[in-house]
């Protein structure tokens, strides 16, 4: 507690003087107002982003396309308007002191659904074209098209991303870790949401209906985010309250087809799933809010594969004035699910070994975050956030009754300061306290303190250099301490308006999770033993990429990447099926990624494709790294006509060359086709999807069969 008090004092000492000093220098302001409209139709464009370049100021357009930026110091500014599906536009505007200036942006429609602003790569809003790393974005439209239950199912269609059951891999980073530690950092609205004990990702925490978009930054991101951001960062951006009162109701129902082979048909029941969500959004003068609740349940497609979840979400925004807001957000999810660990045998892939039938888990998650943001002047903005994340589970297994309760407290202060017209600084300090009381990994506390600084230098209008780094101090109550320094260097060069060249080098690290260090359990025939001497793993990421827009109809992106991992932490089963997390080796994953996205014929036909080649090698043994495929391929096509939309998607994950637990089992590549059709009419949004259209049978981890063909129908109605 003493350490936390000291940390709070540092935060107050660092931020409040800056606030007061810089705040006092401002004495006279101008206002920028305006409208964003479609250049062809003249219709207003709601949700467009308007930014005053080289400052921290900006606004979003409202339902009528109008925007307003207050408290602008007098001067001439380049004002940029961006919106997905439209070409960005920059207008130079002179803002005199004490006056209001008006401007109109007429944006030209582009057929490419490219992202405009991203907030994850540099911990602040920046144009997609200015980012020095590879970033993929999953839009709200794409989430709706997929019509899935959990986010991890949506991520599988992102180039370079694949799942090993619950473990997400970005360009082969994570492999399979039995849910104990992810090499991908998971954020919700920029706030880390990974439990302090297992350090894995809880995909049910935020319902898909509440997600506005997802940003995926590829490559090491520890220079800003610290531990876990070794292979990349996934940031969920939740929906903002709508400008007018709105209630949305969504209901999904689906069922699983019979298994393809008659030998695998194990029940005469119609296996099904359904989901219900209701969201209400309200906006008053100074306060806006979203409240949402939902339930999802399923029989599962495997024996014992049921789940039953409830969730609540609340988001409250208080606008103190035009330049200061306070956001309070909470997520709660509770439920039970059947434990499905291994199939019975390859002739009964949907059935469990007899002793495991009836094993289940109770799981609860709760998060509460408060963020205060203030725009002090045109050059300085800061935010202070506190976060609390509680995660607990209880196994009701035939061979164990493990339970764990973990709490994570976070406190962060971050500022963005344009100290020069060509330099934008992002800096902050962060403290994390992890508290675990568990029968599986014992009672432990861990502390992390960090400070980071990044300068975005724009020596020329078309060249941005990013230099930054973060210092982390990590302490576990067993006396283990670790310090890490993670630098980052990025370059973004735009020789032409349609061409972006990017390069980056950065270091990432991941402190071992308490689960990896202290797990002592027995489950499904595997004994897991502790290793309190685990060291942090680290990686250097190098990337070179080029993004090219061709004739406004096609966007191509090519990235070459090279990641060098040191002290890789992997679960290692020994000859006695005893699993221990150990620093196995040094590894290298290099490869290339090509993505294409485009549209033709007045958007009648939209398409996307991504191919990733990986060469994942254990540098010590020269073997291919386990649980890493060599090839990933995704492709999708959408036909839009009037109120209808139809499409198909394909994803391919090549056969795993190496696995660890059952190396003698049959292994196949994943080749999955999905089909979808949707319509929007009379305020209803209807979607019908067929997943795994051609009944392809596969596993992501050994002895755990993927879902057979299934049908989902979703109806959404805004009241």
């Amino acid at each position: 507690m003493k350490i936390i008090n000291v940390f709070l004092l540092i935060m107050v000492a660092v931020f409040f003087p800056i606030h007061s000093i810089i705040g006092q220098t401002v004495n006279s302001y101008g206002i920028l107002m305006g409208k964003v409209i479609d250049s062809t139709t003249g219709m207003p464009l709601p949700g467009a982003n308007v930014m005053l370049m080289q400052t921290v100021m900006g606004a979003s357009s409202d339902l009528n396309g109008n925007f307003k930026v207050n408290r602008i110091p007098p001067g001439t500014y380049n004002v940029k308007a961006t919106m997905m599906g439209y070409k960005s536009k920059v207008i130079s505007v002179e803002i005199p002191a004490g006056q209001t200036k008006s401007v109109e942006f007429r944006l030209e429609e582009t057929v490419i659904e490219s992202p405009t602003l991203v907030v994850t790569a540099s911990k602040k809003a920046q144009s997609f074209q200015d980012v020095p790393n590879s970033v993929s974005l999953i839009s709200l439209k794409e989430i709706e098209r997929r019509n899935k239950t959990y986010l991890n199912e949506v991520l599988e269609y992102t180039p370079g991303v694949y799942m090993m059951e619950g473990d997400v891999n970005i360009r082969g980073s994570s492999g399979f870790s039995l849910g104990a530690g992810s090499r991908v950092l998971f954020l919700v609205d920029g706030i880390p949401m990974m439990p302090g004990d297992s350090g894995d990702i809880k995909w049910d925490l935020v319902p898909l209906s509440q997600i506005d978009r997802v940003e995926i930054v590829k490559g090491a991101g520890s220079a800003l985010y610290g531990s876990h951001a070794l292979g990349g960062v996934i940031n969920i951006i939740t929906k903002e309250p709508s400008p007018k009162p709105a209630t949305t109701v969504q209901y999904s129902v689906g069922f699983y087809d019979k298994p393809y082979y008659p030998e695998w048909r194990w029940t005469t029941r119609r296996l099904n799933f359904n989901q219900f969500d209701i969201t209400h959004s309200q906006n008053w003068n100074k306060v806006a809010m979203v409240v949402a609740g939902g339930r999802k349940e399923s029989t599962g497609y495997q024996q014992n594969g049921f789940y039953n979840y409830y969730n609540l979400l609340g988001k409250l925004i208080y606008r103190r004035n035009s330049h200061a807001t306070f956001t309070l957000q909470s997520n709660w999810s509770t439920g039970d699910y059947g434990e499905v660990f291994l199939w019975r045998n390859q002739n009964d892939v949907y059935e469990m070994p007899v002793p495991s039938i009836g094993d289940w888990v109770n799981s609860n998650k709760f998060s509460l975050n408060g963020v205060y943001r203030e725009l002090v002047n045109s050059k300085f903005t800061y935010k202070i956030r506190t976060s609390y994340f509680a995660n607990d589970f209880h196994h009701y297994h035939h061979d164990n009754n493990d339970f764990s309760k973990a709490k994570k407290l976070g406190l962060e202060a971050q500022a963005d300061y344009f100290f020069h017209k060509r330099h934008g600084l992002t800096f902050g300090i962060e403290g994390i306290f992890d508290y675990t009381r568990s029968q599986v990994w014992g009672n432990h506390d861990a502390y992390t303190f960090a400070a980071y600084l990044q300068d975005e230098w724009r020596p020329y209008q078309n060249l941005t250099l990013t230099l930054g780094g973060r210092f982390d101090y990590h302490y576990v109550d067993t006396g283990i301490e670790d310090t890490q320094v993670n630098p980052k260097l990025g370059l973004n060069f735009r020789p032409m308006a349609t061409t972006t060249i990017r390069a980056s080098v950065g270091r990432g690290f991941r402190a071992p999770t308490l689960a990896e260090m202290f797990t002592e359990t027995f489950t499904a025939g595997f004994k897991v033993i502790r290793n309190p001497y685990l060291k942090a793993e680290s990686a250097w990421s190098y990337e070179l990429g080029i993004n090219q827009i061709l004739s406004n109809q096609l966007m191509l992106d090519l990235a070459l990447f090279h990641n060098d991992y040191k002290n890789f932490i992997e679960p290692e089963p020994d000859i006695y099926q005893t699993v221990k997390f150990v620093n196995v080796s040094n590894a290298r994953i290099r490869g290339l990624e090509v993505t294409a996205q485009g549209a033709m014929l007045d958007r009648f036909l939209g398409f996307n494709a991504g191919y990733t080649y990986m060469d994942p090698v254990d540098r010590d043994t020269k073997q291919t790294l386990a649980y890493r495929p060599r090839h990933l391929f995704t492709a999708g096509m959408t036909l839009s006509f009037s109120i209808f939309e139809a499409g198909a998607d394909f994803r391919y994950v090549s056969r795993l060359e190496r696995v660890k637990v059952y190396p003698n089992d049959d292994r196949v590549a994943q080749k999955i086709w999905d089909a979808r059709i949707g319509a929007k009419a009379l305020g209803f949004n209807l979607a019908f999807n067929i997943n795994n259209l051609f009944q392809y049978n596969y596993w992501q981890i050994e002895r755990n069969i993927g879902p057979p063909r299934n049908y989902v129908f979703t109806i959404t109605r805004e009241l």
């Binding site: 002793p355 025939g525 000859i575 006695y576 099926q577 014929l601 006509f641 049959d666 051609f694 392809y696």
Partner: protein, 260 residues
């Protein structure tokens, strides 16, 4: 929309559908059930230990398997009873069959094998089961499992170096080092095995995963080309009491010389 454009859109839609359908029809369906295998009865000798967590049937393509990673792990069998019928689905090929026992809250190891399919009438010769094609279930492969040999996995071992003096017998392909709790051993299950070792060498370092207990002798058995393992091929023997006291004991320097 003009007529030409409508036709183009229809053509694109049709081509897309065609591509998807052709892909679907020509695509394989990934994993499939294994339709061949082996069937028989398992006869249990002795009383089921109270702390039994599970019993599984396993297969190996080589004998002796050096670790559990060499095993194809089959179904969990019902606990209790004097005998049980089993069907073990395996791809066509030649397999050694066995049963492993696992203690509650413990892992299993190679020492946990407590039943091996042997040649009828010769409890020292592990027998190969031949599955000829992907549609055949080979029947009548009965296995006797004796709970007296149900041992938990430990990381205890007997280790040492063997020097070979003289010419190896012609046709020597491999060898294995064995330790026996009874001398002479009553069955294959009295033996603890090293992994497969090379033949025709001057010396070798060996490692035998050995459960705690008293071992009466250590020896070397040779496998000749195209011949099964047989205790008759024993070429060296160290008759000496070796005590492995605990689950984590490594009894080292059990060295001896084999004269051909």
């Amino acid at each position: 929309m003009n007529k030409a454009r409508k036709q183009l859109l229809l053509m694109i839609s049709f081509t897309t559908l065609l591509i998807i359908l052709i892909s679907g029809c020509t695509m394989d369906h990934g994993l499939e059930p294994i339709r061949s295998g082996v069937q028989g009865t398992i006869k249990y000798i002795g009383k089921w230990p109270q702390n039994t967590a599970e019993v599984r049937i396993v297969a190996a393509t080589q004998f002796p398997p050096s670790s559990i990673n060499d095993l194809i792990i089959g179904d969990i069998l019902p606990i209790g009873g004097d005998s049980t019928l089993y069907t073990f689905y395996l791809e066509p090929g030649d397999y050694y069959l066995g049963l492993v026992w696992r203690e509650r809250n413990a892992a299993w190891g190679i020492q946990s094998i407590f039943g091996i399919y042997t040649e009828p009438g010769n409890s020292f010769a592990p027998a190969l089961v031949h599955i000829p094609d992907s549609r055949t279930i080979v029947t009548g492969k009965d296995i006797i499992a004796d709970f007296a040999y149900a041992r938990r996995a430990t990381n205890s071992s007997i280790e040492g170096t063997i020097r070979f003096i003289g010419q190896w017998p012609p046709g020597s392909q491999n060898c294995m080092v064995i330790a026996t709790t009874k001398f002479p051993p009553g069955s294959l299950l009295d033996l603890a095995f090293s992994g497969l070792q090379p033949a025709n060498v001057d010396s070798l370092n060996y490692f035998i995963p050995a459960s705690p207990g008293l071992y009466r002798a250590v020896g070397v058995v040779i496998k000749k080309v195209d011949q099964p393992w047989a205790l008759e091929s024993l070429v060296g023997l160290l008759l000496k009491d070796i005590l492995v006291p605990t689950d984590s004991s490594h009894v080292t320097n059990v060295n001896f010389v084999v004269y051909f």
